[in-house]
């Protein structure tokens, strides 16, 4: 068991023939992900990486029965790509693209929400991986091991850090979900945690957040009421000054309640094992699981 993606996921790559799309499609195929084709407008009919290329998502879905799409389209066209995928009936849309205008994302997110059985992950995220089954993202596959720890994160390399620590501590991962570093997230931290909480194969959850917004606090309040598994949490940006954007478009302290300190306090109060140092994420997860027995 796992969430969102598995060995049966039929994956379409939007922006298939571009540099990023080609590189990561190749990596995903090498990992064993079922990449069934790709979309590049104007290049329909071509073959690329031994897979068919289509002009539209609708045509690709009709020919390949794809149910997952990963988007590498440049920021100016990415919201269009998301809406096109949703309209074509794709159930899980994973958008890697960074730098999509907020006003575009407001509309794209609302459209995805209005479709039955359609979910968007990202944008500005590393994607989703179920180790040993499917990698639908840009994360390095080799650091992951199949296992029982679910990871939810707003960042890329910091997630790899956590994954690596978990693997080194002798555990593996059920599914790792990158919800993205933008202010608009198709799937929130809370929604990702709910998926992992309901997954019978996930025994512990790592939640990695950062400054800005209220996603971690919302998740923490829910965990307090409904949590059934140990959750380890870290919030990046304890030293970030107010009002300065820290790389991610969404990583900016707006007021008193979206600082790292404020979020960590709420998370602790809700029973989450909060670590001050990102060096102790793996170790703390191991301790939490042992305590549970």
């Amino acid at each position: 068991m796992s969430v969102l993606v598995n060995k049966d996921s039929r994956v379409l790559v939007q922006g298939f023939t571009g540099t990023e799309g080609s590189f990561h499609a190749e990596q995903m195929i090498a990992y064993g992900t079922q990449v069934v084709g790709g979309v590049t407008p104007g290049k329909g009919g071509m073959m690329h990486l031994d897979r068919p290329v289509f002009n539209t998502v609708a045509a690709a879905v009709a020919a390949t029965q794809a149910n997952v799409s990963i988007i590498f389209v440049p920021p100016a066209f990415a919201a269009d790509a998301i809406v096109e995928a949703a309209e074509a009936g794709i159930a899980l849309i994973i958008c890697i693209t960074e730098g999509i205008p907020v006003q575009d994302m407001i509309k794209a997110k609302a459209y995805v929400k209005s479709r039955p059985n359609c979910r968007l992950i990202g944008p500005n995220c590393p994607g989703v991986i179920t180790p040993g089954e499917a990698k639908v993202g840009i994360m390095p596959g080799f650091i992951h091991r199949p296992g029982t720890i679910g990871i939810v994160s707003r960042s890329g390399t910091l997630t790899y850090e956590a994954v690596n620590q978990v693997t080194k501590a002798g555990y593996g991962q059920s599914t790792c979900i990158g919800v993205g570093g933008d202010p608009v997230n198709g799937t929130t931290t809370l929604e990702a945690i709910q998926l992992l909480m309901a997954d019978p194969n996930t025994e512990g959850i790592i939640m990695i957040g950062e400054i800005g917004g209220s996603m971690e606090a919302n998740a923490a309040y829910w965990i307090k009421e409904h949590g059934t598994k140990p959750v380890v949490g870290f919030i990046a940006g304890q030293t970030a000054p107010k009002g300065k954007r820290m790389g991610h478009a969404g990583a900016i302290v707006g007021g008193a309640d979206d600082t790292a300190e404020a979020k960590m306090k709420i998370m602790r109060e809700c029973g989450i094992y909060v670590v001050d140092s990102p060096a102790f994420i793996g170790r703390t997860m191991a301790e939490a699981l042992q305590k549970r027995g």
Partner: protein, 396 residues
């Protein structure tokens, strides 16, 4: 990207929004000429001299009244060259290099002028645009929200329908307006929302939004921020960017495609990925130091980007050590290690200790490259090791 008041008003005017008129001046002479022209054009009896700097400050520091041309000279003279401390500038403050000479809008007539507050911004918690408004205009809205929360109203705009005329009618009603003023207000709000969406603004704030004695609604002040991710489709707005308002090192880093934020600590850092970069800053603090910067070198940490990163960090005399933290996923650590050695040799005399932590693909090989380079570089693989080394280096 932030706009100045005079720029925000220019943009608003394009959308048919009535604004308080004014003239921009870089010198005292320009201020006087501007004031004279303004008098001819608007018949204004007095003048408001407004400092044009980004960030929030107390209004009485930023706005001064000039009752006549002589007083405009006096106030402009005092203001130009003065340093204003805002929440954004830090303690060193910011030099005032331009002032805006504006007309008086508060002339009494058939009714009393009344100030309101209105802003439009993106609300993260609902992923919707939101109009925030209040009858308590001309004051710090955060204070109003804190002390009298029932006087701050919010109107969320559905992403499905976009702005609807009833949204504006609700606002005008809640502000207690009637007759001509009600009509002016609904038009003002509709046009302002159009300006907000069309320019890809992330925030527009009109404080005060004034009902004049003759029942017109006018923007007396204006603040505007544009979504950086959308600037590619607004070359006209990008041209308004005022680099003198930004940190020069950050501007330079931007030219090398480095995502850099200047901070005031003693340990510089260079990291791939924004989340890991923030986490590395936190590690520096836990190790007893303070981060001197945020620096995300992105996915490809090549010799060129590493060298550019070192140069930018070393501009800061407070930097006592540098921590490089790279998680090699797609990018191989041995390549990064070679890049660091190359950059180090290229630069010659780096006088501060450097701690390099490389983890991920080929991390062991990378550590070997660093250790055998003969350079004054400490290597680490575990994040906890890196933290310990920072602590050791700072203790020296």
């Amino acid at each position: 990207m932030n706009l100045h008041e005079y720029q925000a008003k220019e943009v608003m005017s394009r959308f048919g929004i009535p604004v308080q008129r004014g003239k921009l001046a870089y010198t005292v002479e320009e201020a006087i000429t501007g004031a004279k022209q303004l008098q001819v054009e608007t018949n204004t009896p007095i003048f408001i001299v407004k400092a044009q700097v980004h960030g929030r400050t107390r209004q009485r520091r930023r706005h001064q009244i000039g009752k006549n041309i002589d007083e405009v000279r006096e106030k402009a003279q005092a203001m130009l060259g003065m340093t204003l401390v805002t929440k954004q500038t830090g303690e060193e403050g910011k030099l005032v290099s331009k002032v805006y000479i504006a007309e008086d809008m508060y002339i009494e007539g058939k009714s009393k002028p009344k100030e309101f507050y209105l802003s439009i911004l993106f609300d993260r918690s609902t992923s919707q645009n939101c109009i925030i408004y209040s009858t308590e205009g001309g004051m710090d809205i955060e204070e109003v929200a804190h002390e009298t929360p029932h006087l701050v109203h919010k109107e969320w705009i559905s992403p499905i329908t976009g702005f609807m005329p009833y949204n504006a009618r609700k606002i005008a009603t809640n502000l207690g307006l009637s007759g001509e003023a009600f009509k002016s207000c609904t038009k003002f709000v509709a046009n302002l929302y159009n300006a907000y969406v069309t320019t890809d603004a992330s925030m527009i704030e009109v404080n005060p939004m004034l009902k004049t004695a003759d029942d017109r609604i006018v923007a007396v002040d204006g603040k505007m921020s544009i979504d950086d991710s959308a600037l590619f489709r607004h070359p006209d707005l990008l041209a308004m960017r005022d680099l003198s308002e930004e940190n020069p090192t950050e501007v330079e880093a931007g030219r090398s495609n480095l995502n850099f934020v200047k901070l005031d600590g003693n340990v510089g850092c260079m990291v791939n990925g924004a989340g890991l970069a923030m986490a590395t800053m936190d590690i520096i603090k836990l190790a007893g130091g303070a981060p001197a910067n945020f620096l995300d070198v992105g996915g490809t940490a090549s010799a060129e980007t590493v060298e550019a990163g070192f140069r930018i960090i070393l501009k800061d005399p407070n930097v006592k050590a540098i921590l490089v933290n790279i998680f090699g996923g797609i990018v191989r650590c041995d390549r990064v290690a070679n890049g660091i050695v190359e950059a180090y040799q290229q630069m010659g005399n780096i006088k501060v200790p450097i701690i390099v932590r490389l983890q991920g693909t080929n991390a062991e090989l990378a550590k070997k490259i660093i250790d055998e380079s003969g350079l004054e570089v400490h290597s680490a693989i575990l994040l906890s090791e890196a933290a310990d080394k920072v602590q050791q280096v700072l203790a020296h």
